[in-house]
């Protein structure tokens, strides 16, 4: 036990002294988490995954603009902005700001919109009723007023999906206002129309007394919806969080950082071999198992520290830059299990690489590139579900995909130790397999050594 502890202490001490190694292990994943999360936060905004910033310029100041503003403000998808840097916006400013990409779109309600809108609504209702005998052939004779227009300026770089989504949102808002207005006009026009029809039918018999016999056709519309769309995430267990850039990137780049320990770990094995240190250690009363276990334990400790550090960045640092706060779920035991399993998987791979590679250059180059490939396949850079089918089927072989799936299980789906067991078991199997291959390779190479 003393020997194992000595090996662990020595490895940790060496790591603490290795500035480049420390940068690779700690600084790189932290920088990656911050940079990629913030970059993707912006990209997702342009794709509509986060609240879209919409400039709202109401030059009409009438009922239509007010209603539109009220309805849009209630939307979860859009944030209305009416001023830029404390200044009132004009059309040119709005167009410029959108063209520069500062805002995803600008809505401009021209002067006189409310008046034209109401007029158009009345025209539509009146034209919808059969021609009144009292009014003659009103419908055919009435000139159709041009429909008032409100303008939307879109950022040219906006994704088609988001553009269509926003256009659809505004159309829905207008449809609602239009329907309300038409109903209001209808309620106003219809009793008059009915009375006129009765008057026309009765001719000279019509008297003021008959007016009382005409049914009251004023309509009080019930504004309560007659059907509600209820959105729910398919889930089991605890409530599902809406995945965002932080929930995706923090665990993803934590795993990436963890697997990057293969570079210093394999490097330390190769250096020991090249400097004759391994020979000296083999001549000492120290087993290969103890020696390798010392390295594995040290690097798993490093992985746990990495995990804690990046979680802290997700919870405390990223919100400072405007990103959402990381939610780490409610199963700390599951998180520890995943972290240790991922650390073991990465250590096993590092041991294998350090055993098989002949030079540090080979190990560092192959190690770094293979981790990047595994990360790409494992959904670290782009979520697996957006990959082509063939890549999705390949991604199941990446240890990083197992780790990421397990983290997402806890972070997003409210998973527990039990629900992450399949993925952690895969990582542990990977660790055992890589370590055994390294052991076999080592024993073959040192077949003539006394063990």
């Amino acid at each position: 036990m003393l020997k194992l502890w000595s090996c662990v202490r020595k490895e940790l001490l060496l790591l603490c002294r290795d500035r480049v190694g420390l940068l690779v292990i700690f600084l790189m994943p932290v920088v990656l988490v911050i940079v990629v999360t913030l970059v993707q936060e912006n990209v997702l905004r342009s794709m509509g995954e986060t609240k879209t910033q919409v400039l709202f310029l109401d030059r009409d100041s009438g009922a239509v603009g007010r209603q539109m503003e009220d309805i849009i403000r209630k939307s979860d998808a859009v944030t209305l902005v009416k001023e830029i840097a404390g200044k009132q916006i004009d059309v040119e400013m709005a167009k410029l700001a959108v063209a520069k990409g500062d805002f995803q779109c600008a809505v401009v309600i021209p002067e006189g919109t409310t008046k034209a809108f109401m007029k158009k609504a009345r025209e539509a209702v009146e034209n919808s009723l059969p021609a009144s005998p009292a009014k003659g052939r009103v419908r055919k004779e009435r000139l159709r007023e041009p429909a008032p227009r409100f303008l939307i300026y879109f950022d040219p770089a906006l994704s088609e999906t988001l553009r269509l989504g926003l256009a659809s949102l505004f159309e829905k808002v207008i449809m609602g206002i239009e329907m309300k207005e038409k109903m209001r006009v209808f309620s106003e026009v219809f009793p008059v129309y009915l009375e006129a029809a009765a008057k026309n039918a009765m001719g000279p018999l019509w008297s003021e007394e008959n007016r009382k016999m005409v049914p009251d056709a004023r309509i009080e519309w019930d504004n309560a919806p007659i059907m509600v769309v209820e959105e729910k995430a398919a889930q089991y267990g605890a409530p599902v969080l809406r995945p965002n850039t932080v929930q995706q990137n923090v665990p993803a780049w934590t795993l990436f950082g963890m697997f990057f320990i293969v570079v210093p770990l394999s490097g330390s094995l190769i250096r020991e071999r090249q400097t004759g240190m391994l020979t000296r250690l083999f001549v000492m009363p120290l087993s290969y198992l103890t020696m390798i276990s010392g390295k594995i334990i040290s690097y798993v400790i490093i992985c746990v520290v990495q995990f804690a550090l990046i979680m802290a960045v997700g919870r405390f640092a990223l919100p400072i830059f405007g990103a959402p706060v990381l939610n780490v779920g409610s199963a700390p035991a599951a998180l520890i299990l995943i972290t240790v399993s991922a650390g073991l998987a990465a250590s096993g791979y590092g041991i294998l690489l350090g055993t098989v590679a002949r030079t540090y250059e080979q190990a560092s180059m192959f190690g770094a590139v293979s981790v990047v490939i595994c990360a790409a396949l494992g959904g670290i850079m782009v979520p697996v579900y957006v990959m082509p089918k063939i890549m999705q089927s390949v991604s199941v072989f990446s240890p990083l995909s197992w780790g990421l799936r397990a983290f997402q299980e806890v972070f997003v789906r409210g998973g527990t130790v039990r629900s992450v067991l399949p993925d952690t078991a895969l990582m542990l199997l990977f660790f055992v397999t890589t370590t055994l291959i390294a052991w076999f390779y080592m024993s073959q190479r040192g077949r003539t050594r006394i063990q």
């Binding site: 002294r17 020979t279 000296r280 250690l281 003539t448 050594r449 006394i450």
Partner: protein
């Protein structure tokens, strides 16, 4: 059981030791039989490829012999490597130390591997550092050292557990005369406690230090005896270097 207690008379023996590397046309060691007594400084000399390092590697438990046996203080090295390893110290040709650790940290690590701990370990660290003249540099990291200081630290690491047998594989390669002189002086002073097997290409060193030398070529012993006896046997040679060239030839060995 105290392994040191087993060391009486012959500290190290090899019995018809043969080592054939996979794919090699001839054995690296061919029927090597040695008997090294307690307190001897045993010089293993020979040109490149003579089998010196292979012989040391088999004797110090690193390599398994193809046939033959090795005992250290009566312990069969092949059968009981763990027991034998506790009695063996090894100073490799390479500076096998962690360059980012200080002398103290390196020695502490090696000492713990041999089961030393606490005050006993710290005392041994101080003694070893003083022995090789690095007592003022104990907390200095190895990578900051000169070549000679690194060699001395390398020697200290081989001595930390007070081995019964110390294998020294060209311990003075590439260092300044002062450091070489100090190492040789200290090794000479150590012979009362430790038996040493010493390989070197510096014949003058072997002549001064070793009580017994074996000259090897092609895995076999071609001459052995005390340096002065060997020279007495061949009066045409005035020193060990001349004898060595006479025995192994002037042909270059790569």
């Amino acid at each position: 059981m105290n392994e040191a207690g087993l060391c009486r008379g012959e500290t190290l023996t090899t019995d018809h030791l043969v080592k054939v590397y996979r794919g090699a046309a001839r054995p690296a060691l061919n029927e090597l039989t040695l008997s090294i007594g307690e307190g001897q400084i045993f010089g293993l000399l020979g040109p490149n490829g003579a089998g010196k390092t292979t012989a040391i590697s088999v004797m110090n438990t690193f390599l398994r012999p193809t046939s033959g046996g090795v005992t250290v203080c009566g312990i069969d090295v092949v059968k009981y490597p763990r027991r034998a390893k506790k009695l063996i110290g090894y100073v490799p040709q390479d500076i096998a130390l962690y360059p980012d650790l200080s002398v103290r940290e390196n020695l502490r690590f090696f000492g713990r591997i041999y089961g030393l701990r606490g005050k006993g370990l710290e005392r041994r660290i101080d003694e070893c550092a003083e022995f090789v003249g690095l007592e003022g540099n104990l907390d200095q990291r190895i990578f900051t050292f000169s070549g000679g200081m690194k060699r001395r630290a390398n020697l200290a690491a081989g001595l930390i557990h007070e081995p019964k047998v110390l294998f020294l594989d060209e311990p003075t390669v590439g260092i300044d005369p002062q450091s070489r002189n100090l190492i040789l002086e200290r090794l000479a002073a150590l012979k009362d406690k430790t038996t040493m097997v010493y390989t070197t290409h510096y014949m003058r060193e072997a002549e001064l230090l070793c009580s017994y030398v074996v000259i090897m070529d092609a895995g076999e012993i071609i001459a052995e005896g005390a340096p002065e006896d060997l020279l007495r046997r061949d009066p045409s040679c005035t020193n060990l270097e001349e004898l060595f060239i006479a025995l192994t030839g002037k042909q270059l060995r790569d």
